[in-house]
Symmetry: C2
Amino acid sequence: MKCTFVSVSAESDFSIQNLPFGVCSASEAASPQVAVAIGDYALNMAELAKRGLFDGINGFNAAVDVFSKPYLNDYMALGRSVWQEVRRRLQDFLSNDQNPVRAGLSASDPAVAMPLSSVQMHLPARIGDYTDFYASREHATNVGIMFRGKENALMPNWTHLPVGYHGRASSVVVSGTQLHRPSGQRRPDASKPPVFGPSVRLDYELEMAFFVGPGNELGSPLTLEQAEERIFGVVLMNDWSARDIQAWEYVPLGPFLGKSFGTTISPWIVTMDALEPFRVPQPAQDPTPLPYLCSESSRPAGYNISLEVDIKPKESEQFYPLSRSNLKYMYWTLRQQLAHHTANGCNMRPGDLCGTGTISGPVEESFGSMLELSWSGQKDICLGDSGITRKFIQDNDVIRISGHCQADGFRVGFGSCIGEILPAKAASS
Amino acid sequence: MKCTFVSVSAESDFSIQNLPFGVCSASEAASPQVAVAIGDYALNMAELAKRGLFDGINGFNAAVDVFSKPYLNDYMALGRSVWQEVRRRLQDFLSNDQNPVRAGLSASDPAVAMPLSSVQMHLPARIGDYTDFYASREHATNVGIMFRGKENALMPNWTHLPVGYHGRASSVVVSGTQLHRPSGQRRPDASKPPVFGPSVRLDYELEMAFFVGPGNELGSPLTLEQAEERIFGVVLMNDWSARDIQAWEYVPLGPFLGKSFGTTISPWIVTMDALEPFRVPQPAQDPTPLPYLCSESSRPAGYNISLEVDIKPKESEQFYPLSRSNLKYMYWTLRQQLAHHTANGCNMRPGDLCGTGTISGPVEESFGSMLELSWSGQKDICLGDSGITRKFIQDNDVIRISGHCQADGFRVGFGSCIGEILPAKAASS
């Protein structure tokens, strides 16, 4: 299928097979509203709704209203059959010159298609709750070896359930937001009391995250199949981590201020329907998980998504590679994470966000954090042949995550998830 | 000061010195809106605003609008000087027969004062993020002894910072909401694989929790004094805990599904201004905390609030005592918790909720959980002289927390925080 409404290059992340959802505003003064990316444009979904493109879709009677909101939660709540029909209509609009809504419309009409270069992106949803998992075996093993030695690398529970924790929703920010280096308690010398000050072991974590569509009532768990149906789509995520703050605070109740100073996500949500062609088997699970985490279907539940992390160090104007990984390495799948999350009756709401945890692969270049790449700061990470090195992130370094699925002749890409670290700020009274 | 608008008994939790805020609806069909409790009545705050009671308060131009909302977030955002002036005007309205808004009004006017027995209470705020601390030394020590032995009871970080973790906001419910027993993975026999099923070690935790008023920008920490100014008020909280699920899942990332199936709070938020007369010194802190957790003021930062937990076992129609504790035992104060929470730049928003953690005291009857009272299920908890015993909560048991401050001639009370546990529910496809 080819887009005829605007031209889309074969290298574009935003092909007609993708059609990711986001929230953008055309100018500083304009209200944020729902958009879909195609090529170098953001389609104004409320405008297309006004022109009748989504008329008569079963269960979707308020398209103009839903797409005029500054967040996607209401659309996420509608569920898969509406999402799929909206996708079909969009694809017809974009590829079929005879589509009636196309009559008299041109791609240069700024009411319908806004150049991506001119819009401002916003957080795509109001995130009620944000959860982060720890679902890459390679990452958990690497961290385990560093903290507990080779023999006790994986905790006994790790192969039985997708370990996760509640994160901080208020500090999830959209790509491009600058963040201040966090201050906090750390204990560099275990023989002395802790000190307070800016983190000196600031790290990124290469993650992806999914947005929940229709949720579940409190007390009513989801089956694995129900969980899969309720995932709206996926973004890139940088789970910034202050390793020194985290190491001192995290026993016994888990990560807290080492994480909650900021979490960056990419602005465009790639839907599960767009990712469908890129399903691959997940890694073999041994031991076999308990029945609530097993599917009777033989349909693969992993996704082949290439992921890259690059750094623009403050000394340079150029990006250098850090990590090259893939979502397919993930041991626990997205649907296993969501089913497990609701197994106790915990209620999910539309727009809730679940991170995968750091996505590391089997070889060193696939390690998804500086903690792993510098092996807890024991060795330098060399940035190309620039002579510049890092063990952790320095002030004014920029970290960029990008990701895409490659098919024959088109891409389904995620754009990028970017963030710069500014110097720490003290409290001022 | 005496209320002359309605009669208030000396035993009432809701004296004119209290004036707690909540959200209630007069009937199933009516919209929830902001109310203040006095004696056996809930004052309709939007109605009082319409009659001009809050006219001309600096920084508060939309009283009718703010009090017509089904949540308190907008009012919480206004800050202490508005809260204090609203309190003064309410007290004058209630105590002064000559108050001009009183003209022609009687307490039997249902538009102004609704009998508490007839209203339905709702969650008082939209909780953006919910955090739970672990701030009672006695509780942390008891749990530590059970899990790690006497020598390692308190972790090294515990006396240096208020340990906390992000909780689940979606499953915070208002008093009276029934909850289903959670199912989950647990490993009763460490030599065998884990099993899945309803928790068999279901517990309560006696806590209090504070609501944040005006928040802070991401990246901008609050000083201890700023933190104190930004706390709106306090509720009772039952942090229901499935000990067996928690024990298996919590290493290394902390409590997750063992907690997120439900957290119950009392509906009336007692403001910090009402609690002012009940300030008492906090327990001595040794070692002296780092400067960002220390105040130069000698004003005490603890609160003398008597707390009770009772159980109505399924076998009985009567409540029996479980715990008798007091907030004054808490090692880390509310303002220390909030200042610490923002020390890394984490942004708080109006309506965010922070739990204190289980409030245990020095003697056994003050232990704030069944885990402690039954010493991890090793001994029976006897319910009065009924012959009924418990180690953990059984289906259809009701747990009730209540709390109050007692002054000479009046009370500032919290009402109650109540919840019944229903049998577990499986996923249904």
